[in-house]
């Protein structure tokens, strides 16, 4: 019984002191977010389509380590009450699907489910001929907005 009490008190002390030890603060690096400063190279304002409340800006740039990111600014909004919106780079303001030829005019980026600031980490630089960011409601098959990258 004494052994058990001693063990319990020891565990309580261990938790109490480790919880208060500032020296053990863990730094979590989220590799999906830019490290250091994000610098925008190209940007454009979203134009709303199909009666959606799309607004805000898209910015294409790199972080301090040279990693490429697409950023939606904190003012970004679109119609998300209906669900998920898919983000594409496109060679024109209109999304041109061509699956038979490997969809050469578009590049899928990811999905967005919340308004506000959002970073998309890109594995490679985006070729200059991809001139627009498109917000696409894939279920309905209609655009919610697009932003030119200038």
């Amino acid at each position: 019984m004494k052994k058990l009490m001693f063990l319990s008190i020891s565990i309580l002390f261990l938790f109490a002191f480790t919880a208060c030890n500032d020296d053990d603060t863990e730094v979590i690096v989220d590799s999906s977010l830019p490290q250091g400063t994000f610098t925008s190279a190209k940007s454009g304002t979203f134009a709303a389509q199909n009666d959606t409340p799309t607004a805000g800006m898209a910015q294409l740039g790199t972080d301090s380590e040279g990693v490429n990111f697409l950023r939606f600014t904190p003012t970004f909004t679109t119609a998300l009450a209906t669900g998920t919106v898919t983000v594409y780079f496109s060679k024109s303001a209109t999304l041109m699907f061509n699956p038979g030829n490997g969809n050469p005019n578009i590049r899928i980026v990811g999905t967005v489910t919340q308004n506000g600031e959002r970073f998309f980490k890109l594995n490679t630089a985006v070729p200059a001929d991809f001139t627009h960011v498109i917000l696409w409601c894939a279920s309905a098959g209609i655009p919610f907005g697009n932003a030119p990258l200038n």
């Binding site: 009666d51 669900g83 999905t111």
Partner: protein, 291 residues
């Protein structure tokens, strides 16, 4: 005892199976005789890729489709008072590239009171609709490489209250009747989205052939009150407007059983089609009537 059992059964159906209001449901000035009843179970289907957005512009989208099984029941509680339950028992919404969002709909109860009886019966209808369906119900895109979902709830997520007036007239020797109705929908809100009120009105004309087959046709209008909302999804119908027509038939199989069918379509005119998938809606049903 039988009456009590029937009422309990009706209310159990109403409260446990839930539903959403079917705008195609007829409105007339007649109320049911005391203790008489009318029950109908129907199946509806429509599919469309013609979407009219909030500005009234027509878009071509992936095909949206809906399957519904609907219960509709009337019971003459008093000589002048009929209670009505409108209950979609099952509804499945989907786009062609998604799975289905399945559920019951929003329950609507109606209290119909005869203000006037006689040659031109006039009734007032008070109809609360309760948000008994899941307010958010997501279908998943089957083609996307990401998790891609779209919200296709089977109810609109709000409490609302329809108030309607309906008047009818039967032309005595000729088996012909005409009905007209007008109604106002006090809408509330879902989460942060305040809904505009709505109005509807319509005419119905019916003709019975050889006491077996009744053919009818409707012309209806449906409009949003106040400033047209700038945003909103079609599934909650905020900012929706249209004109609709329908052609229907009731065929007496037996003294109590009827086969029913209807086709309803939408068109522009007084109310431009807005925030609406437009396509014919096909309905087939079986009705039972106790006079």
């Amino acid at each position: 005892m039988k009456k009590a059992s029937f009422l309990i059964l009706l209310f159990l159906v109403v409260f446990f199976l839930e539903g959403i209001f079917n705008n195609a449901q007829a409105q007339s000035g007649w109320v049911r005789d005391k203790k008489s009843a009318y029950l109908q179970l129907s199946y509806s289907y429509f599919a469309s890729d013609n979407f009219y957005n909030l500005s009234g512009n027509k878009l071509t989208t992936n095909t949206f489709s809906q399957h519904s099984i609907h219960f509709y029941g009337e019971y003459g509680l008093l000589d002048r008072l009929t209670i009505i339950a409108s209950v979609p028992l099952f509804r499945a919404n989907q786009f062609k590239n998604t799975d289905s969002a399945i559920g019951v709909g929003d329950l609507m109860l109606q209290l119909k009171y005869a203000l006037l009886k006689g040659k031109f019966p006039l009734a007032i209808i008070i109809a609360p609709e309760f948000p008994t369906a899941k307010a958010d119900n997501f279908a998943t895109n089957k083609e996307s490489i990401f998790v891609d979902r779209i919200n296709l709830p089977t109810g609109d997520g709000e409490f609302n209250l329809w108030t309607m007036l309906a008047v009818s007239h039967s032309f005595g020797d000729v088996p012909l009747y005409i009905s007209a109705h007008a109604g106002y929908n006090f809408r509330t809100k879902y989460q942060e989205e305040e809904f505009n009120d709505q109005v509807r009105y319509g005419l119905e004309l019916g003709y019975t052939i050889a006491q077996k087959l009744t053919l009818n046709t409707h012309l209806n209008g449906f409009a949003t009150v106040g400033n047209q909302p700038l945003t909103g999804d079609f599934i909650r119908s905020n900012g929706t407007s249209y004109n609709s027509y329908s052609i229907g038939a009731f065929y007496k199989l037996t003294e109590k059983l009827r086969l029913t069918g209807q086709v309803q379509g939408y068109f522009d005119g007084l109310n431009e089609r807005k925030n609406l998938y437009s396509a014919p809606v096909f309905t087939l049903g079986l009705a039972w009537e106790k006079k």
